[in-house]
């Protein structure tokens, strides 16, 4: 039954798919992607994350925002159903949880791993796919579903995370959805909405000790010229 549900869920994606291209075969597309991304100084967006577990009839949903600033600053903030902020740059990462009416900075257990994940998210948003090939086999899917597919090289990682699929506009200029597929058919979908480019973020947006409140960041962006 689980296989059947997973097949039905995945069927709409596979029906239109063409044979994926290797990173080398897709070199012109990747270069076009990198050229497009190279003009970006900042990106900010809203996301809706849905975990589709075959056990539950409805997906498990969360929402949030993300801010990326060149060369390497990132802020990933979950706003619902709980509040949490992840911040990273080339030197360090920090995480804050909203508990009992205030932000609490965590003493992260494995900052290197989290830093690596944040770096990979930044690299993906800059189209720097070559930098990911040590951890992933990268392929590119064209046709009606344009996507970059990352398959973990490590078998142990693959036993938990089958692939990461970044669905893009047909011209590969923007990411629209990220699918993280798990063995057995469960998957997590992150749908990107309201993306803005080259906005100037207020000071403190990426502060790893006292990050600027999200409402303040958003107010500053609304009043930006």
């Amino acid at each position: 039954m689980k296989t059947c549900i997973a097949f039905l869920l995945l069927f709409p994606m596979t029906i239109h798919a063409q044979q994926p291209l290797s990173l080398d075969e897709a070199r012109p597309i990747v270069e076009q992607l990198q050229r497009g991304m190279s003009t970006l100084q900042t990106v900010n967006l809203e996301f809706v994350q849905e975990r589709h577990l075959s056990l539950f009839t409805e997906p498990l949903r969360s929402e949030g925002v993300m801010f990326i600033e060149k060369p390497d600053r990132i802020r990933w903030e979950t706003t619902s159903p709980y509040q949490s902020i992840l911040l990273g740059d080339h030197k360090s990462v920090a995480q804050f949880e909203w508990t009992n009416g205030s932000w609490k900075k965590l003493h992260l257990g494995f900052p290197q791993m989290l830093k690596r994940v944040m770096e990979q998210m930044t690299l993906l948003h800059q189209g720097k796919l070559d930098a990911l090939t040590s951890d992933y086999t990268v392929s590119v899917q064209t046709g009606s579903v344009a996507a970059i597919v990352l398959t973990p090289k490590d078998a142990n990682v693959r036993s938990m995370l089958e692939s990461i699929e970044m669905r893009m506009d047909p011209d590969f200029k923007a990411v629209r959805e990220i699918l993280m597929k798990q063995p057995g058919g469960d998957f997590t979908s992150i749908v990107i909405q309201n993306e803005q480019r080259n906005m100037t973020f207020p000071v403190g947006t990426f502060d790893q000790n006292k990050p600027l409140n999200l409402a303040t960041v958003e107010a500053a962006l609304r009043h930006a010229p």
Partner: protein, 163 residues
């Protein structure tokens, strides 16, 4: 550091710090049927990890907890039947099933199934809890509750990897 190394380290720290576990086999006393979304901060020897939990509670079938990383990977999936018997349905590589049974199930039964026994739980209010044992502290919040009937197959132990 790779995921499996993380779990191995988590396990190692956990096993060093914890007291001898006590397994409970008391019948559950669950008074609601709902799915709870939970957020937890687990502290082990000063290091902190965030976890998401989805807990299905049924007056008739028992409870099932799925613990995930923030990015979606399942770390543990455990089913507890109304008679108190526990089944590990899934576990991340490196995370021993017996630890899930002994500690996770014990805390789960204390928190949500009104089972009497050696509980290490402090209730702050209806949705905030602290579980504190010698080796770890778990700050747990229920952030969403969806009441309503749940399918029986959610509580079917076919496919469990251990009892």
């Amino acid at each position: 550091m790779r995921l499996e190394q993380m779990f191995a380290a988590l396990l190692a720290m956990w096993s060093i710090g914890c007291a001898t576990p006590t397994q409970m086999r008391s019948p559950l006393r669950i008074t609601t049927t709902a799915v709870l979304t939970q957020r937890a901060v687990l502290t082990i020897r000063g290091r902190q990890f965030t976890l998401d939990g989805y807990l299905a509670l049924s007056e008739y079938y028992g409870m099932r907890l799925i613990v995930m990383q923030s990015l979606g990977q399942v770390i543990a999936d455990v089913l507890v039947k109304p008679d108190g018997s526990a089944y590990v349905m899934r576990s991340a590589p490196g995370l021993r099933r017996e630890w899930i049974e002994r500690y996770m199930v014990r805390d789960l039964m204390c928190l949500f199934a009104n089972v009497a026994g050696p509980c290490h739980v402090r209730t702050l209010d209806g949705t905030n809890f602290i579980v504190q044992d010698r080796g770890y502290t778990l700050e747990l919040r229920t952030v969403e509750t969806k009441p309503g009937p749940l399918p029986a197959q959610l509580f079917d132990y076919a496919g469990a990897t251990s009892k």
